[in-house]
């Protein structure tokens, strides 16, 4: 039987961390892109479009991420679409992330006083000009902190991808545990690595919040 030294455990976990980071980044990029599109759609003030976005948000916020992953992974293959664990993980995390970001950003846009829209209108700016010059520059400042804060949820969410067989930090953690029978040590290390990934983001988010709060 192979013996795992502490060094082996740690180096394996760190290797797997790369995949966790990669998956997080991919999901975050996918999520922000989709959320941008949905936010733009929502701002068109078209009733039907708004209802669709609302439904999308409710659907993905109202169901467990794990079920979404199962549906993407097993569901899509049942329908005849071959999808890798990696693909299913990215797809479901993108859907999940975008549903939350759309809501977060909606809040940011809605916190701007109605007077900003009215003043722009009275100066003759079109809807798009108002959005571009007045609303977005202000909303983005407000949105950065909660968006960075939410990225922590995305990182933690990637752990679920282990269940559909994607080999990332949590999955390697379970594998190492099976080999070493040292759950406390292995999972404490896994948790520690997640913490090291997430804590700086939380701090950064708090820092941003303070910074933008003061300058407004």
């Amino acid at each position: 039987m192979i013996q795992f030294s502490n060094y082996d455990i740690i180096s394996n976990l760190l290797y797997a961390t790369q995949w966790t980071i990669l998956l997080s980044i991919a999901a975050f990029i996918g999520g922000t892109s989709v959320a941008l599109l949905l936010t733009a759609a929502r701002l068109t003030r078209n009733n039907v479009v708004q209802k669709c976005v609302h439904f999308y948000v409710e659907l993905f916020q109202g169901t467990p991420l794990l079920m979404q992953m199962f549906l993407c992974f097993f569901g899509l293959s049942m329908l005849g679409y071959e999808i890798s664990a990696w693909g299913a993980a990215i797809l479901s995390l993108t859907l999940f992330t975008s549903a939350f970001l759309v809501e977060i950003w909606r809040g940011c846009i809605d916190t701007l006083p109605k007077g900003q829209w009215e003043a722009s209108r009275c100066l003759g700016l079109s809807f798009l000009q108002t959005l571009r010059h007045i609303i977005l520059p202000q909303a983005i400042r407000v949105a950065v902190a909660p968006t960075v804060g939410f990225s922590v949820q995305v990182i933690k969410g990637t752990a679920l991808a282990s269940i559909i067989g994607f080999v990332e930090l949590t999955k390697v953690g379970t594998m190492l545990n099976n080999a070493t029978f040292e759950p406390f040590k292995v999972f404490a290390l896994v948790a520690l690595i997640y913490f090291v990934l997430c804590y700086p983001l939380s701090l950064y988010s708090k820092y941003l919040e303070k910074k933008f709060h003061v300058s407004r």
Binding site: E118, A119, R121, C122, L123, G124, L125, S126, Q129, H133
Partner: protein, 242 residues
């Protein structure tokens, strides 16, 4: 022909009948003070004139053009109507100069340099030439409101609508804003003000419109009307505010 004409304008918020058949004719160069209790429909009336609020019956024309809330129509209106708000509504992420230059550059398609010249001239006019590069938050309320006036003036409007523009100011800052308005009035700018400043209405205004229960209850030359009100409602109102 009158510059602004309202004919039998009715406005409802749901079941609430806010404006009940407003007729009003305003000529170029007039300074109209709209007074009345809160809830009498003064601000709503003002906001109908530049298309911020929809009205359900009647007609409003501005310089011969019909006023509607259609986006494109409102934008055309913006070229002849300026609006100043109670809460200034400056753009907080832009400097004073940028606030004023924005509409001339992107709506009137003027060059940056041209817009900057306009902005400087307008700031000069409201006595804030040195604040070009300041951010709004660094200014007092009175200064912010003067910047808002400069911003509206930069579009060279024919009419300036002022919606209780001194109501959010500390008492000692009201004077500086009124002084700017007085200057504009002297230069012949058409002003329509919703205001509680009775002294200003009497001394600077040409006509006072007293609104009550969604109607123009009484109107007339400002000095005559305020010293010799005809209706009990206006008498009561003047008694209450003075």
């Amino acid at each position: 022909m009158s510059l602004v004409n309202l004919h039998q304008v009715h406005k409802y918020y749901g079941d609430h009948h806010v404006l009940k058949g407003i007729d009003l004719d305003i000529n170029a160069g007039e300074v109209i003070s709209i007074i009345g209790k809160s809830g009498s429909g003064k601000s709503t009336l003002l906001r109908c004139i530049n298309g911020l609020e929809e009205y359900q019956q009647g007609g409003i024309t501005l310089d011969g053009n019909e006023v509607t809330t259609e986006d494109i129509q409102v934008r055309r209106l913006a070229l002849s109507v300026g609006m100043i708000f109670q809460n200034f509504n400056l753009f907080p992420h832009m400097t004073v100069g940028e606030n004023i230059m924005l509409a001339p550059t992107i709506v009137l398609k003027k060059s940056k340099a041209e817009a900057a010249d306009i902005a400087k001239a307008m700031l000069e006019k409201v006595g804030l030439a040195e604040k070009f590069d300041s951010y709004p938050e660094k200014l007092s309320g009175g200064q912010q409101q003067r910047v808002a006036i400069a911003r509206a003036l930069a579009m060279s409007p024919k009419v300036l609508l002022c919606d209780e523009i001194t109501s959010a100011l500390d008492p000692e800052l009201v004077g500086e804003v009124l002084k700017v308005l007085e200057q504009l009035a002297k230069e012949g700018m058409t002003l329509i003000l919703v205001t509680h400043e009775m002294n200003f209405a009497r001394d600077v205004g040409s006509r006072v419109v007293f609104m009550h229960k969604g109607k123009v209850w009484e109107q007339g030359d400002s000095k005559t009307l305020l010293s010799d009100p005809q209706t009990d409602e206006l008498k009561q109102f003047i008694g209450a505010v003075l």
